[in-house]
Each structure stands twice: as C-alpha cells, then as structure tokens.
C-alpha cells in the first residue's frame, strides 16, 4: 500500500490545489511553445517537485509517467569510476548530481552534452527539446554551475533545464539571470487543513477539525510532513479525537530530552551522558545541522528571554563550523557546553 503522500500526489496541473496563480502561469508557459529554463525554489514540502512533474505532463503528455531507472558509469579525469542513477522517460531525465559530491561537474558535462547532442527520436513528440530536471541544485559546486552556464547557451535548441533548489543563495548569478525564477511558497495552515480534510474524505476517515489544525501547526508548513503525521495518527489510533497526541519522530523526542537535560543539570557527568545520545543520533544518520537546529528550537522555550539571542547566535555559529569542519561531534558538544555555561552564569547572577 502506498503512502498517502504518494497516493494523493496530484498528477496534473489541474489537480493542484493551492497557488492557483502559479499553476496557471506554468500551464501557459508549457503551452506557448517557447519554454524557458526554469529555476524552481522554495522550502521542502512546498510542492516544487509535484509542480514540475505536472508541468512536464502538460508539456509532453502522459508519456512522461513511464519512467525507468538507469544506472550509468562515468569516468573521472583521474580514472575513477562513478556510479550514477538517472530517472528517465522518453522525454525527460532526472538527475541528482550532488550524489557524486565533487565530481558533479563531470556528470553534468558528459550527461548534458550527450542529451543535447541527440535529437528527439519520437517524431510524434509535442516538443522538439528534452527536459533535464536537476534536483538539489543548490548543492552543485561552483565548477558544475559554471559548466552548466556554457551548456545552457550552447545547446538551448535541444535542451531545457529545470533546476530545483531550496534556496537561490548558492546559485551563481549568471545562472539566475538565464533562468526564469519560480518561487513555490509553503502552503499556509489553511491550505494544509483543507488538504487534510480532503484526504480524510477520500480515505473514509472521520474528519477531526481540531486535530487537523494541530497537525498543520506542528508540521511547520511542510505538506509532506503534515500528511505523514496525519497518516501516522490514523494508523496508530483506532479512534481519533481532537486531543489525540500526534506521534513525533524518535529523534525529535531524543533531541527534546537532550535539551531538557542540559538546562536542568550542568555538570561534566551530564555532558558525558549527552555525548552518548549525540552519537546515537549521528549513527542513525540524522544530519548534524538538523540536530543543532532542532536543539536550538527546543532549548529556546526552556531558557530566560535574555539568553535567547545567545542561544541562537551560538547555534548559527556552530552550525557554520559543522559545515566547514569535518567532525560534527566536537561542535555539537561545544554548543551544549556553551548553553550550559550561559544558563549557569545567568543563575549565578540571579543568586547574587
């Protein structure tokens, strides 16, 4: 049985519910024949990918839904072999170049050149060009982006690119000026609520207005997360009411515990306990920057207002160091120690 998220995913532009203005624009772009390169950006769970797939369908017809996975091998200049997975249909191709880390330039150059130099085989195809969708474009290296710039101009008759990114900050200016920027904002709480209500109706689940409202708020305007939570609630409970607790992921519970522990007791022994928990999280592949971000937001309500700017500042600082450094645990512990020190100092000043 498929998850609700996949089962209820809209397949065409008509079925999309919120951001109607945007859907209308995408449709007219797809129909006008002169389709530009796109850069679609927005937070995760806002529906970027869904919109892109729907646009592709509008461009090429139902053929884009017949996809296959291709494993390709690329050679780098130093003769290393790279395995790379491509999701492709006859009309389009979807790649995630950040999978191969620093070698993304090789993949971009080889693959795009190959696509661009072959004409569309199918005579009955609606468009002359092929579309390449690039996921996680913000993680592309500078080199790869520069290579992209050349390719975009050179092969524009045969190739259109759709870049998907969470933010445009890391996209170089020449690419931004060559693409049409499309911002997909996260759905509002009301949007999420109406979608949840529609989902409940489809699944024959009872409609619980209060619960849906809470889910919408808990999800942080992330529709994917909201739907997953919604499904989890209904799967775990026979009967749902307004007050049914929403199950939170284990790791979030654990981070919550850490936050509580470090604000309650500030001793070296406690740091050792927390270290074990951090290792537990890290070995379960929770990204360190997610941990530090969640920890920051969990600690915030537990400390005094005057400490909050500090908590945020050090979270941002250590998160930056995690990105530039190599070993995450150092920075996580340093952050914990900083919080402990701040809380301790604050309490001491209260006593005096």
């Amino acid at each position: 049985m498929a998850l609700l998220v996949d089962k209820l995913r809209p397949r065409s532009l008509e079925e999309l519910t919120y951001h109607e203005e945007l859907s209308k624009r995408l449709r007219s772009l797809a129909q006008c024949g002169d389709f530009p390169h796109l850069l679609v950006y927005g937070p995760s769970g806002a529906g970027k990918k869904t919109r892109v797939v729907a646009t592709l369908k509008e461009l090429f017809g139902p053929g884009v839904e017949k996809i296959k996975i291709d494993a390709r091998v690329f050679m780098t200049s130093s003769n290393r072999k790279l395995e790379f997975n491509i999701v492709a249909s006859v009309y389009h191709m979807e790649i995630t170049p950040s999978d191969v880390g620093n070698y993304d330039r090789v993949v971009i150059q080889d693959l795009l050149k190959e696509v661009a130099q072959t004409q569309q085989v199918d005579q009955a195809a609606r468009q002359k060009f092929k579309v390449v969708v690039i996921n996680e474009a913000e993680n592309l290296t500078r080199d790869a982006q520069a290579a992209l710039r050349r390719t975009m101009e050179k092969y524009s008759p045969n190739l259109r690119l759709i870049l998907l990114a969470n933010s445009t900050s890391n996209i170089i200016a020449p690419i931004r000026s060559r693409t049409l920027l499309i911002r997909v904002a996260a759905p509002t709480h009301d949007d999420i609520r109406s979608i949840l209500a529609a989902a409940a109706k489809k699944e024959d689940w009872p409609l619980v207005e209060g619960l849906n409202k809470r889910i919408a708020e808990e999800s942080g305007r992330n529709l994917r997360k909201a739907l997953l939570m919604f499904e989890a609630v209904h799967a775990q409970n026979e009967k749902v009411t307004d007050t049914t607790p929403i199950p939170v992921p284990d790791w979030e519970v654990l981070v919550g515990q850490i936050a509580k522990e470090i604000t309650e007791d500030r001793t070296p022994a406690r740091v050792m306990q927390v270290r074990a928990k951090f290792y537990d999280l890290l070995t379960h592949c929770i990204p360190a920057s997610t941990i530090i971000k969640t920890l920051c937001f969990k600690v915030m309500p537990l400390v005094d207002d005057s400490l909050k700017p500090g908590v945020i500042h050090y979270a941002a600082m250590y998160e930056h160091r995690i990105k530039t450094g190599t070993k995450a645990i150092f920075h996580l512990e340093a952050y914990v120690l900083k919080i402990m020190k701040m809380v301790e100092e604050y309490l001491m000043s209260m006593d005096m």
């Binding site: 002169d34 101009e153 900050s169 996260a186 700017p309």
Partner: protein, 380 residues
C-alpha cells in the same frame, strides 16, 4: 518540397514562385528572431547607438576617423555595454563581409587555458590580412589590422595572461587586442599597461528607462506605470539583466494570449500589461511590505516576535541572500537609527554573509541576524 535535392528543379521553382519563396524566407527570419533573446536582438548596431557612455564613444569615434586603434581594455560593472561597444565598433570598421575574417571573439565559455592562447590566438594574430573587395573600402574604413576580443578576461588564468604579453607586442602591426573585464584588478599589470583603459560607468536611470521603453514598444509589450522603474531597481544598473527580466515578464503575461500562433502579428494581441508585481516576482525580490514587517518586529517595542516573522519568511521561500541584501538597504538608509548602531549592525551583516557563503543553514543564520540587530537596536 519533393524536389528538394534536385537543384535545377529548385531553381525553376524559385524563379516561378519568387514572391512566395521570399515570403517564406521572411517568415523563417521572423521565427528565428522571435526565439532570439532580446538582449541579442537589440544590441546596438553602431557606435552612436550605445547609450550613456559618451566619453568612451567620442574617443572611439575619433579613432574611427583616424583609422588607428590602440590596444584596449574595457572595464566596468556587468550590463553596461562593454561587449556591445566593441562589437559595434568592429562592425563599423569592417562591415559585415570582412567581420568574420578580421575579428576573433573569445569569451569565458570557450576553453581559454594557456594552450589556446598559444595556439588559437597566436595563429589568428599571425595571419596576414586579406584585401577588402574593390569598392568595399569606400563604404567601410577597413583599417589594416585585425581585432581580437577577449571577453570576460578577468576569468583567464594568470599564466594565460602572461602568455599574451609577448604576442600582443610581436604582432602589434597587424593585430589589436581588446580585453573586456569586470574587475580591472584581476588583469595583470604588464597587460594593463599595454592597453589604453576605458571605464564604463553604470547606466543612469534616464537612459536605461528610455532604452527599456523603446524595446517594450517595439515588441508590443504594454508596461504598467512604475513597471520600468521596478525593472531598473531590480536590475541594479545592469541593462542586460533588465532586458532579460522584461522578456521573461512579457513571456509570462503574454503566454496566455499567444497560445495559438507563431506569427509576429499575433504578438501584438496580448494586452495584459507587465505589472510591478510580475517584475518583482521574476527578479525574486521580496515585497517591501515583508521587509518592513521584519524591520518593525526587530525594533524595540515593535509588534510581533522576530522569530515568527522569520519563520514565515523562510516558509515563503525567500532566499537568505536576497533577504540580507534588501534588509541591508532598509537598515542603512533608515534615518531613525543612530550611526553608531548602524556601524555595529553592518558588522553583523558581514559575519552572517560569510556564513551563508559557506553554506550554513539559512533559517538559523537569518534568525541570528535578526536577533542580533534587534539587540543592537534595543541598545544592548
């Protein structure tokens, strides 16, 4: 077109239906100009068409009459017409026929390592001149040298630049170089000293506005009041960016109107106007109201909490870099803030900017920025 490969039949057909075929050619010509980017389509054709660079243009026009040219180094911010100027100059000097054999243009998208400088540039520089066809010289000056244009020269490696030094001098009798770059400091001194430098200043508003309005009326795009100003504001003096934005905007609003047709006539049917909002959407600019809301939340005793405003902005998908640029503008030009506070705030901006460039989490970075600024504003 069954007789496509039969040349005789084609000629006969062409002779018979001259009118029809010329009409056909025209149609394909309009098709190709339609898909052409407007930036290319409206590139200035002659030196006098180049807007807002009076000083440079007068100097170059004088050289045009004297039929001699120094090596040149054009520098200035992007989109101010550096490439357009040299192309227009080359066109005026050589005319369409000699242009191909006398001008070599290399830009950053061509491979431009040291080997290319050694081979391609040197070969071209070494090549002897061809004589212009008789009668051609009366129309174009055709001075006895070739021009090599190195566009985006600041992205050339140091080695490649130093390899140019000798080449420039050895073949100076028959070849002139024109280097184009954004940052003159990235050009090594020995090269810079061999060229006469031309600085291109960023376009003033009046000229940019006029140009954009011209293009809009030629393309049959209706512009709402203030849309041109929005274009100029969003593009920060870069005319190329402004024209690209204009084209995207026209495509976006016009796309619905011209679904059926491929003809140029139908372009004029679209009566939907380009609005300020559309322009800002395309440029990815955050609406002024949102920035003001954030600013208000940061000020002491302001309405709403900073964290909720920031969360909303992140959920709406505004990029952190854009938020920073616009917030910076808003803070620096805010008259109500004392200078000493601005001083501190700008330091915060520089720190956070570095974080973002290194790829730190946007949500945390912006939240920290906002928290710190509000702390400074409160006088802590």
């Amino acid at each position: 077109m069954a007789s496509f490969f039969d040349i005789k039949a084609r000629k006969a057909a062409a002779a018979a239906a001259n009118g029809a075929s010329s009409g056909n050619a025209e149609k394909t010509a309009t098709e190709s100009t339609k898909v052409q980017p407007w930036v290319e389509k409206y590139r200035p054709k002659t030196l006098s068409d180049v807007t807002a660079q009076d000083h440079t243009v007068t100097v170059l026009q004088r050289t045009l009459q004297a039929s001699n040219l120094p090596h040149m180094l054009f520098y200035g911010p992007p989109g101010t017409g550096k490439t357009s100027t040299i192309l227009a100059l080359a066109k005026e000097l050589y005319g369409p026929e000699l242009m191909k054999s006398r001008v070599l243009e290399l830009n950053a998208s061509d491979e431009r390592g040291i080997s290319i400088v050694r081979e391609k540039v040197k070969d071209f520089a070494r090549m002897q001149l061809t004589n212009p066809p008789p009668g051609y010289k009366s129309r174009f000056p055709c001075p006895p040298f070739k021009i090599i244009i190195l566009d985006e020269a600041d992205s050339m490696t140091q080695d490649a630049q130093s390899a140019l030094r000798r080449t420039m001098e050895t073949y100076s009798k028959i070849t002139r170089f024109c280097l184009i770059c954004n940052y003159v400091t990235r050009i090594i001194d020995p090269l810079a000293s061999r060229c006469s430098k031309f600085r291109f200043k960023s376009l003033d508003e009046g000229n940019a506005k006029k140009r954009l309005e011209d293009i809009a009326s030629l393309e049959g795009v209706t512009l709402e009041d203030g849309a041109v100003d929005a274009l100029i504001r969003c593009s920060e003096g870069d005319l190329r960016k402004a024209i690209t934005y204009l084209q995207s905007a026209a495509r976006l609003v016009g796309a619905a109107a011209q679904t059926g047709g491929g003809d140029a006539d139908e372009m004029e049917v679209d009566n939907a106007a380009v609005t300020v909002k559309v322009v800002e959407d395309i440029a990815g600019v955050i609406p002024e109201a949102t920035i003001q809301r954030l600013l208000k939340a940061m000020k002491p005793g302001g309405s709403g909490t900073v964290s909720s405003v920031v969360e909303d902005m992140v959920a709406d998908g505004w990029s952190a870099a854009q938020t920073m640029t616009q917030l910076y503008q808003a803070v620096v030009y805010d008259e109500t803030l004392p200078d000493i506070q601005k001083n501190k705030i700008v330091t915060v901006f520089s720190e956070v900017d570095k974080w973002l460039v290194d790829g730190a989490d946007e949500n945390l970075a912006i939240l920290d920025l906002a928290a710190k600024i509000s702390g400074i504003m409160a006088g802590r």
